[in-house]
């Protein structure tokens, strides 16, 4: 599903040049659950942003679903992104002014789903995540675990082929964290490909495979059994 080859990304400020990705090559197959680990600054987030089509690489190839997307422009990336990729963030990134229902509904609006269908699908996914009773609350009124469930609901409502999770349990206590990890595992078992960046060995154990990074390169791959 994902095949990146010799990917390079360099951040430049006036004086400093930081190499975030250094000729990185990774492949992720459809249906896989991959964890990416490594110390701060090793390039995990940059990788995730490029995989999520939020950022473009300086050079190298990125084949997504058989299409070379490394040179896609903003509009094409956005189009591909909103139909195929769901995001889960460490800080949830829910919109404070919108209710639970409206937050989850957002991706459907941007992909042009009709209002009737939207309602049905949002309710379906809220039900599945067991936060239906909170549908009219605002994010500030929810606990961290509940907020992350809403965020996951939002990530999957569009039935994406790929979910990218950036330390999804980073702001949660262990029981809430486990709950979220279980949700991701369930999604994976239903066929969704998942790439998760994490600092937690415990969380990484939910995955099939761990990619360890250092200084913008893969240093090790562990296959989980």
């Amino acid at each position: 599903m994902i095949k990146i080859t010799d990917l390079e990304k360099v951040y430049r400020t006036d004086e400093v040049e930081t190499v975030a990705l250094n000729k990185l090559s990774i492949e992720v197959k459809e249906g896989e659950f991959v964890a990416v680990m490594g110390p701060s600054g090793c390039g995990k987030s940059t990788l995730l942003n490029i995989l999520g089509l939020l950022d473009d690489p300086d050079s190298g190839s990125f084949i997504f679903n058989g299409i070379e997307v490394a040179k896609f422009n903003e509009r094409k990336r956005a189009d591909l992104r909103k139909r195929n990729i769901g995001f889960v963030f460490q800080s949830f990134n829910l919109i404070d002014e919108l209710t639970v229902f409206e937050n989850v509904e957002l991706p459907l609006i941007y992909t042009g789903v009709k209002p009737g269908d939207r309602k049905k699908r949002v309710e379906e996914v809220l039900d599945k995540m067991q936060i239906m009773h909170r549908r009219n609350h605002y994010p500030q009124q929810l606990s961290g675990g509940q907020q992350q469930r809403v965020a996951v609901a939002r990530a999957v409502v569009n039935k994406p082929k790929l979910i990218l999770a950036d330390e999804p349990t980073g702001n949660l206590d262990s029981s809430n964290g486990n709950e979220v990890m279980q949700m991701l595992t369930d999604l994976n078992e239903q066929g969704t490909t998942i790439v998760m960046v994490t600092h937690s060995e415990h969380d990484a154990r939910y995955s099939h495979r761990i990619i360890r990074m250092l200084d913008g390169q893969t240093v090790l791959e562990n296959i989980m059994v």
Binding site: L54, K82, F87, L94
Partner: protein
């Protein structure tokens, strides 16, 4: 501590140069406008207040209606002053001015100079108006005929000296030259006065048929004794008319009482106007100087207040917008033990310093713009006037008031931040759905829309006036002033000008349908014996054979005056309105009558020979009154229809003819269209000022909006990032951000519409002929505001929308 306040304040201003510039410039523009308007209003309100006993001086106004013609004027009969003083002990003194002789030609060296600021006055003038003298005794100065009092600068102009008492000036009237002895020199009359004379001649030189109780040709002032209630005193005017005017009128008209006159729809009423109200409240004809208008004083005061408010609102919005960036500073200060009070002081000091800088820049702008403003507002204000004691405390207080006002909201808002939340970065930025801020923005938009609607209405009304069918053609008519100076050469002059290339016709008459020309009214009746039912008071203009043609007027029935008819000397032309008032469908061939010259003489008969299509001879503020024309000689003005393309060549040629036919007499000319425009100068002025203020208000509002949009974008960076990750396109985001502002514009419009409709209808009431306020004006104003607001906002929205979401979502 205080030093620290200032240090931090200046560093902050310097660090955010862009914000500071917008903030300071916005407030400076607001302050400058406010100062200009304050200067203007103070000046308007100060008229005649410097006169000693101003509270006891009153002018008599007359309201007369006789047979449809309304007279609403500053003049009374010559007898009114003396009779009131004789009968009522409350009258300490009266004085009269006679200005109907118009300009005077005064000799300086070998030439004559035309002086227009001249009057004849009673010897009591200086007992009522105690104008300071610098030479001579004003008490007795005008006791004798052939005496004159001049101002200081006039003395310098003619004699290069102020010690001129006892010297003579020469006044030319036709062929005769009369010497006048200067008996006193007074200080120049202050510009904040409703009269502006340079020469005050003795009343004894006025050639007048004294004792006419129904001819109103004198401006009469009364000095009432202290403690007299002028409203109560006015009631005596009824007694006066019954005692003196009624017996006089009965000589001409069959009438038994003044009530009978009133019942038939006519009136003869007098009232008193306090001296200090004349400039702003008078809507009477024949004011000595063009009056101001209290309405404009109110409007401009409101505008000044609005603009200052707008500027303050901006200041608040911009400061709050910046607060997110300063939250960390507040947090650290709080952790270090700073009290909330100290923080509030810090922010207030900052805003006061900003306001202070704005004031300095505002003063500079004011100074630079003042000449332009003087030009538009027809004033001669100077920044020195600001130092006049009245406004000085206000000026000194202003930066503090504005500082506290504008700084209080951000001060209170910023100091409320909880330090831990701020430092950990988990602070809910809040303030997003502030009703107050939305209220302020709506207020700004409502004001802008109001001003735009006002401007459009004023401009449309002015254009309507300019293009309305007037019934005459004001274009390409050259008017030569003081044609009487040509004396017997006048016919020769007319013929020689007519012979020039590009001159198609010409007429000699003092009466023109524009300002600066003569007016005269007479009462005519349908039957030989006049009563209150059959009389019509109408403008009676003396014209020559070529008048109708030169003015481009139209005869709709009958014929024009013609040399082919020998008996036209008593023939009369009337307008359609006159015909209607007389009750004639076809007046041609009918007759009207005027009383004989002396009581007991038989009536004079005037056969009507034609009807002129109605033409507007007064400002369109007034309803068209009745008018008739007679053949005769009134050689005040010579008007020529010329080919405008030739005017550059023609005028020197005409001047050359003038010089040879009227040697030593000043030549001056004007175009009729300019004189026409002059009638609407005050509206034009208001229109221009309205445009300037609207632009300013919109500019200031936009500055604020720009800041707000920046703030909004900043506040919503995270949200925008999330939305983009979820698939929102740039246009989605821009639409969302702009939509919020568009909604505020719409609410502002809803508030502004009824206010604007009410206010502009009230303004239009002043015009007898006016436009309707079309709905499109409202839509246009709202659209213009919307467009400007969106242009301002979209810039920020696009910037926010195209930013890489990755940056805004990074939380590590």
């Amino acid at each position: 501590m205080i030093k620290n306040y200032f240090k931090v304040a200046f560093r902050n201003l310097w660090k955010n140069k862009g914000y500071s510039a917008i903030n300071i410039f916005g407030l400076a523009a607001g302050l400058a406008t406010c100062l200009l308007i304050t200067l203007f209003i103070t000046d308007e309100l100060s008229y005649d207040r410097h006169v000693k006993n101003a509270d006891r001086i009153f002018r008599i106004n007359s309201d007369i209606r006789f047979g449809g013609g309304d007279l609403h004027m500053t003049q009374t009969s010559d007898m009114m002053g003396p009779l009131l003083k004789k009968d009522y002990p409350q009258v300490e003194e009266y004085t009269r001015l006679y200005t109907n002789d118009g300009d005077k030609l005064i000799k300086k060296g070998n030439e004559f100079i035309n002086e227009s600021h001249v009057t004849n006055a009673d010897s009591t003038f200086f007992s009522v108006f105690k104008l300071p003298a610098i030479g001579g005794d004003t008490k007795t100065a005008l006791n004798e005929p052939n005496t004159v009092v001049v101002t200081e600068s006039t003395a310098k102009k003619y004699f290069n000296d102020v010690n001129v008492v006892g010297k003579y000036i020469e006044v030319r009237n036709g062929e005769t030259i009369t010497p006048y002895k200067i008996t006193a020199v007074i200080k120049d009359i202050r510009k904040e006065s409703h009269f502006n004379f340079d020469f005050i001649f003795s009343m004894k030189n006025v050639d007048y048929q004294w004792g006419q109780l129904t001819s109103h040709n004198f401006i009469t002032y009364l000095l009432l004794k202290p403690g007299t209630d002028y409203r109560a005193f006015e009631k005596n005017f009824t007694q006066y008319t019954n005692k003196y005017v009624l017996p006089y009128v009965q000589q001409f008209i069959r009438i038994s009482s003044m009530d009978e006159l009133k019942k038939s729809g006519n009136k003869l009423e007098y009232s008193l106007m306090p001296l200090t109200r004349i400039h702003l409240y008078s809507d009477y004809s024949f004011e000595i100087t063009p009056p101001g208008s209290i309405q404009y004083v109110y409007i401009f005061s409101a505008v000044a207040l609005f603009i200052l408010l707008l500027a303050c609102i901006n200041f608040m919005n911009l400061s709050t917008a910046r607060s997110a960036k300063r939250a960390k500073e507040v947090g650290i200060r709080k952790v270090l033990g700073t009290e909330r009070r100290t923080l509030i002081t810090q922010f207030l000091v900052e805003s006061t310093i900003t306001a202070g800088i704005s004031l300095i820049i505002g003063l500079a702008i004011c100074y630079l713009v003042l000449p332009l403003f003087n030009d538009i507002a027809a004033k001669s204000l100077s920044l020195k006037d600001l130092l006049g004691i009245q406004i000085l405390p206000f000026l000194l207080l202003l930066p503090f008031v504005v500082g506290v006002l504008a700084g209080s909201y951000p001060a209170l808002f910023l100091s409320r931040f909880r330090p831990i939340a701020v430092l950990k970065g988990t602070m809910s930025t809040g303030f997003k759905k502030s009703n107050l801020r939305n209220g302020l923005v709506i207020f700004q938009f409502a004001t802008s829309i109001l001003l735009i609607i006002g401007t459009i209405v004023v401009y449309n009304q002015l254009r309507y006036i300019q293009t309305k069918k007037l019934g005459f053609n004001k274009d390409q008519v050259l008017i030569i002033d003081r044609a009487y100076a040509l004396n017997n050469n006048i016919a020769a002059f007319k013929n020689e000008v007519l012979a020039m290339q590009g001159v198609s016709s010409g007429t000699i008459s003092s009466f023109l349908p524009v300002t600066n020309s003569s007016r005269s009214d007479n009462t005519f009746s349908k039957e030989a014996v006049m009563n209150t039912e059959n009389g019509v008071d109408m403008q009676t203009w003396t014209v020559d054979y070529d008048y109708i043609r030169t003015m481009g007027m139209e005869i709709v029935k009958g014929r024009n005056f013609s040399k082919d008819y020998g008996a036209d000397s008593n023939a009369i032309l009337i307008t359609e309105t006159t015909s209607r008032l007389l009750g004639y469908d076809d007046p041609v061939g009918k007759r009207i009558y005027a009383p004989g010259n002396n009581p007991g003489d038989p009536s004079i008969v005037f056969p009507i020979i034609g009807v002129i299509k109605d033409f507007h001879f007064e400002s369109l503020r007034q309803k068209l009154g009745p008018l008739c024309m007679r053949l005769g000689s009134q050689p005040g003005l010579a008007s020529f229809k010329i080919d405008a393309a030739n005017s550059a060549n023609l005028i020197p040629q005409i001047e050359k003819r003038w010089k040879s036919l009227a040697p030593g007499m000043p030549f001056s000319y004007r175009f009729m269209s300019d004189s026409f425009d002059e009638m609407y100068r005050s509206e034009q002025r208001a229109g221009t000022i309205a445009v300037v203020f609207s632009v300013l208000a919109i500019l200031i509002a936009c500055l604020g909006l720009f800041g707000l949009a920046t703030y909004m974008a900043e506040q919503r960076t995270k949200e925008i990032g999330v939305r983009k990750v979820l698939g929102a396109s740039v246009s989605n985001i821009v639409f969302m951000l702009s939509g919020d502002f568009a909604r505020l514009v719409l609410i502002g419009a809803v508030i502004a519409f009824p206010v604007a409709w009410f206010a502009m209808n009230k303004w239009l009431q002043d015009f007898a002929y006016r436009i309707n306020i079309g709905w499109w004006i409202f839509i246009a104003a709202a659209l213009i505001t919307m467009l400007i607001a969106l242009c301002t906002v979209v810039f920020q929205a696009v910037k926010a929308a195209v930013a890489n979401p990755v940056k805004s979502l990074r939380t590590e």
